[in-house]
């Protein structure tokens, strides 16, 4: 590992000022960054440790929103009473990720900014447009069983690894960040981006920006929400496909619905087309299935990941039927 300096600022102003130094990186729990440094993918000159900042609180706002500080640990947030009661999907997405030890270390800000688990990105002996722009993407013709089926580009078929971010996308959450120029606010949908011809950029965050908080708007019917994840083993593995869903029922009809898919794209995939198809319609398995088929028409699977299309359909339909109590 390359040598680096270490700073532990106590104020956010100092933290963003330090981040202006060339080769600096923010350090949250380190569960992704330290790993990537060992692999030689990240070679920072300076680590700016965020865990001394006053950003570790979960606060209920006057308008009913929940403001989650960026250094709140994944495990603390998953066990938070307000999160469990008001947004079950969020708590479930957190406990579906990684392991008990990793969740104790991981911060929510770091979780949002963790890098893809694409094997070519993690291996410095291979080409990768995300790691070295213009070097090529061997994944298309190579190992891509767990890579994207939606929204990919010629340049990159990586997937976003975070479970938490999928739930946040369904909940229309916001991201607040700070740079030396001032505060920036983005919705989670605007925060993550599709790879296009700039796969080196995971997000639309300005360079050097410090994520300070995530805000989950009030959504009373999110009490009827769930996260379901399918992986190669029962636990301690990234998603093949995951689904975050919330449903507002009006008798046997869908008054409103939120649906996001994980493991299928470079960003959490908000299934807006399926949501539109479902809104105002019957809460039946047929309707759920048709809506998902419509959403997944856009899928462009590769030879080894075609199974994800049916899997995403099935997992989403199952999640919706369970949430709405429709007999399967």
């Amino acid at each position: 590992m390359k040598a680096f300096e270490y700073e532990r600022p106590v104020g956010v102003t100092e933290a963003v000022a330090l981040a202006r130094r060339a080769g600096s990186r923010f350090l949250g729990g380190g569960t992704n960054l330290v790993d990537l440094m060992k692999l030689g993918v990240e070679t920072p000159d300076l680590l700016v440790d965020l865990t001394g900042l006053d950003l570790a609180e979960v606060l209920e706002q006057p308008d009913g929103a929940l403001r989650i500080g960026a250094t709140v640990r994944n495990s603390d947030l998953s066990a938070n009473d307000a999160v469990r009661a008001r947004y079950p999907v969020l708590s479930q997405a957190l406990v579906a990720g990684a392991s008990g030890q990793l969740r104790n270390m991981a911060t929510v800000g770091g979780n949002m900014l963790q890098r893809t688990r694409c094997p070519y990105f993690q291996d410095v002996t291979k080409a990768c447009n995300k790691r070295v722009p213009g070097s090529g993407c061997p994944a298309r013709a190579g190992e891509h069983r767990n890579l994207a089926i939606l929204g990919a580009s010629e340049a990159c078929i990586a997937t976003s690894p975070s479970d938490f971010a999928v739930a946040l996308a369904a909940l229309d959450a916001g991201v607040t960040a700070l740079t030396t120029e001032g505060e920036v606010s983005l919705t989670v949908s605007d925060f993550f981006r599709l790879p296009g011809d700039e796969p080196q950029r995971d997000t639309n965050l300005p360079p050097g920006a410090l994520v300070t908080a995530l805000t989950v708007p009030r959504l009373d019917w999110a009490t009827r929400s769930a996260y379901r994840k399918v992986r190669d083993r029962a636990s301690y593995a990234f998603a093949l496909v995951s689904v975050a869903a919330a449903v507002d029922l009006d008798g046997d009809r869908v008054r409103d619905v939120r649906l996001a898919l994980g493991g299928v794209a470079h960003a959490p995939w908000r299934a807006t087309r399926a949501e539109e198809a479902l809104r105002g319609g019957p809460a039946t398995e047929e309707a759920f299935s048709a809506a998902l088929r419509g959403e997944l028409e856009a899928a462009e699977p590769l030879p080894h990941n075609g199974f994800k299309v049916d899997l995403a359909h099935n997992v989403a339909v199952r999640t919706l039927t369970e949430l709405t109590g429709v007999p399967a």
Binding site: D49, S99, Q101, L102, N104, M105, A234, S235
Partner: protein, 170 residues
Amino acid sequence: MARMSLDLTVNGERRKVDVDTRTTVLDLLREQLGLTGSKKGCDHGQCGACTVLVAGRRVLGCLVLAVTLEGAEVTTVEGLADGDDLHPVQRAFLDADAFQCGYCTPGQLCSAVGMLREVGEGWPSVVTPPGATVSVSSLGPDEVRERMSGNLCRCGAYVNIVPAVLAARR
């Protein structure tokens, strides 16, 4: 090469050390403090062999940089027993024969201690039914398997590890 000096408590003892900023707490324990109980399996957060407790919370020593632990209280497998009195989790592992080669065991022990504390605080897991509350006394094998999933055992001693953890709850 950047070095920093660091004050921390390891198994109840104050330690002052000088570390390269690249040093993980696992390497600090093993290479500088002579505490070789914590094991290096993968060095990438994928096996749990390096699990230690920081302020009572289980973490992975291989991904924690030592410099982040200024003033922290670290407990390793060497610090679980009270003198010659084994920790109940250690006793239970012996009684249930919850290991074969023993390489994963220090991590399993520290993880189980941290995990039982999490359950005591009512933390849910992914197998906890929505809205349900968990308690140490009501913990079942499925919960133990899920909550201990961050500790791999190449020998496959899980069939005895799960009963050992359940037995250690007293």
